[in-house]
């Protein structure tokens, strides 16, 4: 073989294996160099990578391996020593790095693995939370549905609307196939199908109430799953598919009468309705817990709404009833008022009509008495007079009674002689008593004051009535009249719980007892005595005479006098005692004479002698008006000033007790005013006293005043003392004409 200087073939001729090794090495090197590049690239891209140092190591390792393989390429052929050394270095380095990496990986790989485990764990947790979130969301949905349902149900107070709305809303929320409400019948033994969702007019199915399933549902306040074969659940015609699950819940029906004030309604006596809900039959849906809860809540709300509706119905009915009653009462009241007015008119007219002839009879009889008469004639005239007086009294009685009932009667208070009253009564009753051969005795206690302040006429009328009754109902025996001042302890046992005597300094209580030995009265009949028109008929002797008004009137008079009257009797045949207690005032001054003007010292030296006495002063002259006003104010009166007759007539009222008129002014027609005031106040006790103030000292003025109807005349100038004494006299005697 010749040695030639041609290039040595790179590739040994028979080395296909070598060729493949060469190529593999090349690709390995390529791969080894690109892996780190990729790693670096992707790590740079990723945000988090905690193991940089490992990466570097690994990169170095791979790079070196690649370098090794790359250098290996040169070793296939004969290579120089440098290549060999490089190769050796590379291999050494690679060995070093790979060993170190191997050692590092021992620590790192468990960490990396645990990352994976943690990741798995977190994924599970996330799934769990998702599930729970889903649950919460469903619950919230349910809650929202409940609220909405409640709102819908409670937004109306009409029973039917409530129930219909319930069913509709339940359907909307739960997507039901059918929903029905069974209400108990009136008898309480059956449940009747009242409302359904789909069928417009449910047929009146009834189901007996004592079914085990129904009992089970009623006994629990939860929604209970029931079998679709149960009679209450057979709401749909049987279909091909399995009927959906059915749930039933009880709806308590609360009645108004179930609510007692102090205890809550007894659960055992409640009535229930049954609500049945059916899921769609061809779905595989099941009742979820939250759905059941929803149904329970709805059932409760429906119960509340129904009870509200019931209460409202009740109160509306009650209100209508009240309104009707109101109207009826109003009508009755108006009718009563009309009747009273008619009666008053009638009485007024009749009394006037009756009185006119009575007055004629009495007047003419009295006049006849004054003429020359024979003794028989005189007796006849006296009888006529007495009878007509009696009749006049009767008429007055009737009028008095009607006025008493209206409350418009007022007592005529005045000072009078108490002893004289009793003497008068005795005188009046003696003739009749002596005819019946009854003995009448009068006992006046020594401490009884001689004079008293009160209504003399009516007191006498009362005492006379009682004594008259005593005489009337006694056929024999004696009548005794006792009068004394009642002390507090005797007042208290007066058998009247509402009679509360109050003792004060200027009043005393007069107690009069009239005891008779007559027919007596049955104790049970005693209360009836004082009622109007009720005659005592138990004795069998019908005493005609007296309208039955007497005692009723007496009682009213006595009540007005703040007293009490009652009758005691031990029974038939044992006589009876009539007792009356009245409040009389103590007189301030003992007064025997009735002269109109008495020169006497004023007994009241107090500055305000007439507190609050309402007075009207009419005077044109400003100065003298002011002086008079000052005078009266100083005496404590309540003064109204007027400057003209028109003003005087306008302002005068029954509250004014005295009217002072200055009549010496030529412009004023004082007499005219007097007449007009007389016309205005027809009742004597309402009219104020009219007093003229004048400087004229002639008799003519005085006569004119008296004739015009004035109650008094005073000469000007008036001093303080004079005004004081004038007012005192005036108020006592109701008349005062100064001596001219």
């Amino acid at each position: 073989m010749e040695s030639c200087n041609c290039i040595e073939p790179q590739w040994p001729p028979d080395d296909l294996l070598m060729k493949y090794q060469y190529i593999s090495d090349f690709f390995i090197a390529l791969a080894y160099f690109s892996i780190p590049l990729e790693l670096i690239y992707f790590v740079k891209k990723s945000a988090v990578f905690p193991y940089r140092w490992v990466l570097v190591q690994f990169g170095a390792f791979i790079v070196l391996c690649g370098a090794t393989h790359l250098i290996n390429l040169w070793t296939f052929t004969v290579h120089s020593r440098t290549v060999a050394s490089v190769m050796t270095t590379a291999k050494v380095l690679t060995a070093a790095v790979s060993c170190i990496t191997a050692l590092m990986l021992v620590h790192i790989i468990p960490d990396l693995l645990s990352v994976k485990t943690r990741e798995l764990f977190l994924k599970n947790k996330a799934a769990e939370l998702d599930r729970e979130m889903g649950l919460i969301r469903t619950q919230e949905e349910t809650g929202r549905h409940v609220r909405m349902l409640t709102h819908e149900i409670r937004s109306t107070l009409d029973r039917h609307t409530i129930l219909k709305t319930t069913l509709v809303e339940l359907d909307r929320t739960l997507a039901l196939e059918e929903c029905a409400l069974w209400m108990p019948t009136r008898t309480g033994l059956e449940l009747q199908l009242s409302y359904t969702l789909r069928q417009q007019n449910p047929v009146g199915y009834t189901v007996p109430i004592h079914h085990p399933v129904i009992n089970q549902v009623f006994s629990s306040n939860r929604a209970v799953k029931i079998s679709p074969n149960c009679p209450v659940a057979r709401l749909r015609p049987a279909g091909k598919y399995m009927p959906g699950e059915v749930v039933a819940v009880r709806v308590p029906l609360l009645h108004l009468s179930n609510f007692h004030i102090n205890d809550w309604p007894e659960l055992s006596t409640k009535r229930y309705a049954l609500m049945v809900l059916m899921l769609p039959s061809d779905s595989a849906r099941q009742w979820h817990v939250h759905e059941l809860e929803l149904v329970e809540v709805v059932a409760d709300q429906v119960a509340v709404a129904l009870s509200h509706a019931a209460i409202l119905e009740e109160s509306m009915r009650a209100r209508d009833l009240l309104m009707d009653q109101n109207v009826a009462l109003d009508l009755a009241r108006r009718e009563a008022e009309t009747a009273i007015r008619a009666r008053n008119d009638f009485l007024a007219v009749m009394n006037h009509e009756m009185r006119t002839p009575m007055h004629a009879i009495i007047a003419l009889s009295s006049l006849l008495q004054e003429t020359e008469l024979t003794p028989e004639q005189r007796l006849m005239v006296e009888t006529v007079l007495k009878s007509s007086n009696l009749l006049a009294t009767l008429i007055n009685d009737v009028l008095d009674l009607s006025r008493l009932e209206d409350g418009s009667l007022q007592l005529d208070l005045g000072t009078f002689n108490l002893y004289a009253v009793f003497r008068e009564v005795l005188n009046l009753i003696k003739p009749i008593a002596s005819v019946k051969k009854l003995h009448v005795s009068l006992n006046l206690a020594p401490d009884l004051p001689e004079y008293a302040v009160g209504d003399e006429k009516r007191l006498m009328q009362t005492i006379l009535n009682i004594v008259g009754n005593a005489v009337k109902f006694s056929k024999e025996g004696s009548i005794s009249i006792t009068a004394f001042v009642a002390k507090l302890d005797t007042l208290r046992d007066s058998k009247a719980p509402e009679f509360l005597p109050v003792l004060s300094d200027n009043h005393f209580y007069l107690r009069v007892q009239v005891k008779d030995s007559g027919s007596g009265i049955n104790p049970p009949d005693i209360p009836k005595l004082f009622t109007k028109f009720a005659q005592n008929q138990s004795t069998g002797t019908r005493n005609s005479g007296g309208s039955g008004l007497g005692l009723a009137i007496c009682k009213r008079f006595v009540n007005l006098m703040e007293g009490h009257i009652w009758i005691e009797s031990e029974g038939l045949g044992k006589g009876c005692t009539a007792i009356l207690i009245v409040k009389l005032g103590m007189p301030e001054r003992v007064n025997e004479s009735k002269l109109p003007y008495m020169p006497k010292m004023p007994t009241n030296h107090g500055q305000t002698a007439f507190p609050g006495l309402k007075v009207l002063v009419m005077d044109e002259n400003g100065v003298s008006r002011m002086v008079t006003k000052g005078l009266l104010l100083h005496l404590g009166c309540d003064v109204t000033m007027v400057g003209s007759s028109d003003e005087c007539l306008r302002l005068v009222s029954h509250e004014h007790k005295v009217v002072f008129m200055d009549i010496c002014v030529p412009g004023i027609d004082s007499y005219g005013i007097t007449i007009r005031i007389h016309e205005k106040f027809t009742k004597r006790h309402e009219r104020p006293l009219l007093v003229a103030l004048t400087g004229n000292t002639d008799k003519v003025t005085k006569e004119n005043c008296m004739r015009a109807g004035m109650d008094g005349l005073i000469l000007k100038p008036v001093s303080l003392d004079k005004m004081r004494s004038v007012l005192t006299d005036l108020l006592e005697h109701r008349v005062f004409f100064e001596a001219i």
Partner: protein, 154 residues
């Protein structure tokens, strides 16, 4: 001046008024009506009187100036004046009014005019007297004292 001296002066002055006939017992009555609830009663009444009288006197002057004298009207005015003056106790004014009325009744114009003058004079005089009186009273009140009441012995 001292309080006591002023009070003495008031008493003397008032007594002099009574002596000279300017005031009579009615004025005492007025004073009696003055109390705590009505502290200025006398002053008010007297002021009212002077207002009234001024008006009335003017009316009278005008009425007497007319060519046709209306005696009825004059009589009524004088009557009023007489009433007012007697209410407060102005004695001399009242007397003058009485004389005036007499002339009025007989329809004597000359007499009426003379009387009018007299009444005016008396009013003027008594007004001055009252003013002095009130001034003294005010002095006493300002010094913290109380107005003494007059006891008359006649």
């Amino acid at each position: 001046m001292e309080l006591v001296q002023i009070q003495r002066r008031l008493v003397d002055y008032t007594k002099s008024l009574f002596m000279e006939g300017f005031l009579d017992a009615q004025f005492l009555q007025l004073q009696q009506l003055q109390d705590d609830s009505n502290p200025d009663f006398v002053f008010e009444v007297v002021s009212l009187f002077f207002e009234d009288s001024e008006k009335l006197l003017n009316e009278l002057t005008i009425a007497l100036d007319q060519p046709n004298v209306d005696f009825k009207k004059i009589d009524s005015h004088v009557h009023q004046l007489k009433g007012s003056s007697s209410s407060i106790g102005a004695q001399r004014v009242k007397n003058a009014c009485i004389a005036f009325r007499n002339y009025c009744d007989v329809q004597n114009i000359e007499g009426c005019l003379t009387c009018l003058q007299q009444v005016k004079q008396e009013c003027y005089l008594v007004k001055n007297k009252f003013e002095t009186l009130f001034r003294l009273e005010q002095q006493i009140m300002a010094s913290g004292g109380s107005v003494p009441t007059i006891e008359l012995g006649f």
